[in-house]
């Protein structure tokens, strides 16, 4: 019960934070110099989305590791990994969309092969594959272990992908997003709004994770309780 209340408070806080971010971002903060009309508003959403994406995948990988390590093997880590990956994929999609929306007025294109965007797109596909693997039917421990290994293997690829794409881009001319210079424009109310954005999206992530985790736990419990009935049915087969 306490957990429920805490969760509800968390959800309300996240919601409040998001509403505040949107309001501040859209109406209160000024337009920044050098950005086409209004696109700076995306600044309050896009980096937080990307940030949540990274912590989601990081969490999924950490949970996978903990699950595989014999000393800490527990089904809760498998559930965490799955929940985190799902939320991560959603946020990756949103990151891509928001990045694309940024790109259109700024450079006139819906897509650019920028290192970050490309890495994000690959992450999207990588983790979609991970989720597909989790959905393959099998024994719970089987699925958990298989997914944990796949998650680790995929995650190891992420830094390699990032470096590869960065090198790839650095050898070519072309539009680049320079995060450093972007942040130099951020000060005052913009900085606070940005911080609020990070915080509220993180809260939203935690809230979503908690619910997704609980869903997984309930599903497992349903399976376990079904087991007793399944065994009784099986015994009944023997009765002629």
């Amino acid at each position: 019960m306490r957990a429920d209340r805490a969760l509800r408070i968390l959800g309300l806080a996240a919601l409040a934070g998001m509403v505040a971010t949107v309001w501040l971002g859209l109406f209160v903060t000024p337009n920044a110099v050098g950005y086409p009309d209004g696109t700076v508003r995306l600044l309050y959403i896009h980096p937080p989305l990307a940030w949540v994406m990274f912590i989601a995948y990081g969490m999924a990988t950490l949970s996978s590791l903990l699950y595989l390590w014999p000393r800490t093997r527990h089904v809760r880590f498998d559930r965490l990994a799955g929940a985190s990956a799902e939320v991560g994929v959603v946020f990756t999609g949103l990151t891509l969309v928001s990045g694309s929306i940024w790109g259109r007025p700024t450079w006139g294109v819906w897509w650019t092969w920028d290192p970050l965007l490309t890495t994000t797109a690959l992450l999207f596909v990588l983790y979609l594959g991970y989720l597909a693997l989790r959905n393959v039917p099998g024994e719970p421990e089987t699925v958990a272990r298989r997914a944990a290994i796949a998650g680790l293997v995929a995650f190891l690829d992420v830094p390699i992908v990032f470096f590869a794409v960065s090198w790839w881009r650095s050898l070519h001319q072309g539009p680049t997003i320079d995060l450093a210079t972007r942040h130099s424009y951020v000060h005052g109310s913009m900085a606070w709004t940005l911080l609020l954005g990070f915080v509220s999206f993180t809260l939203t992530y935690v809230w979503l994770m908690a619910h997704r985790y609980r869903l997984a736990a309930l599903r497992d419990r349903e399976n376990d309780e079904g087991l007793g009935a399944a065994i009784a049915d099986r015994w009944a087969e023997a009765v002629r």
């Binding site: 690959l122 693997l133 298989r146 290994i149 293997v153 190891l156 690829d157 590869a164 050898l171």
Partner: protein
């Protein structure tokens, strides 16, 4: 472990020699891919020649999927993992052996494809040393990742669609590195390929290590 690896590699290669699936099916598939590229981007080599390296490696990547599927299909169809587990072979040895067999087949395939690319796209195969180094490191990396994902998906009934979905994104850095290395070699700047070759090498070493360690638990799930 090495003894088992040699045993498995020899067995896989012997089966390939007998059945010639690689020769009769995978190689023609790769050739068909090249032809399709030609149709899509031709008829002059204006678009094909600069893209030759990329097209080559895309064809290789698609062929790897087939090669991996074949490698696991020979293990008594549906009960692939059961047979391997019952055999008493060291899992790391199975990984290395199967990987080595796939790498060998890949190298042969790449040689054929290189000839195809030279012929069809008008590419001149300069910088042969870099080309070769790229082929070797890329193939080792692809073989390693392929065997890992092949084992992961071999138990599933959706394995035919699952394997490409899992394998291709992870192999993206290999595609990138190998293509860039080949581009540098083909356009006469083999020295610049160092960074790409080291990327390929890191990938290969990393995934061979991961596979060697993880293959035991991987085989174990049901």
């Amino acid at each position: 472990m090495l003894r088992d690896a040699l045993l498995v590699c020899g067995k896989d290669l012997r089966i390939e020699l007998r059945s010639k699936v690689g020769l009769n099916q995978v190689a023609p598939f790769a050739a068909a891919v090249l032809l399709l590229f030609g149709l899509a981007l031709g008829p002059t080599t204006a678009a094909l020649k600069p893209a030759a390296a990329g097209l080559f490696w895309v064809a290789v990547l698609l062929s790897v999927v087939l090669a991996v599927q074949r490698s696991f299909a020979i293990e008594s169809a549906d009960s692939a993992r059961d047979g391997l587990r019952l055999s008493g072979l060291d899992p790391a040895g199975i990984f290395l052996g199967k990987g080595a067999a796939i790498v060998s087949q890949l190298l042969v395939l790449e040689a054929l494809l290189a000839a195809g690319v030279a012929l069809l796209f008008g590419a001149r195969l300069d910088g042969a040393l870099v080309l070769l180094a790229a082929c070797v490191t890329a193939s080792v990396g692809l073989g390693a990742v392929g065997v890992i994902y092949g084992a992961l998906s071999s138990g599933a009934r959706v394995k035919e669609t699952l394997l490409p979905l899992l394998l291709l994104p992870v192999a993206a850095p290999v595609l990138l590195g190998a293509t860039k290395a080949w581009n540098d070699a083909l356009s006469g700047r083999p020295g610049q390929a160092d960074v790409w070759l080291s990327l390929l090498a890191v990938f290969a070493v990393l995934y061979v290590a991961v596979g060697t360690v993880a293959f035991g638990p991987l085989l174990e799930d049901a």
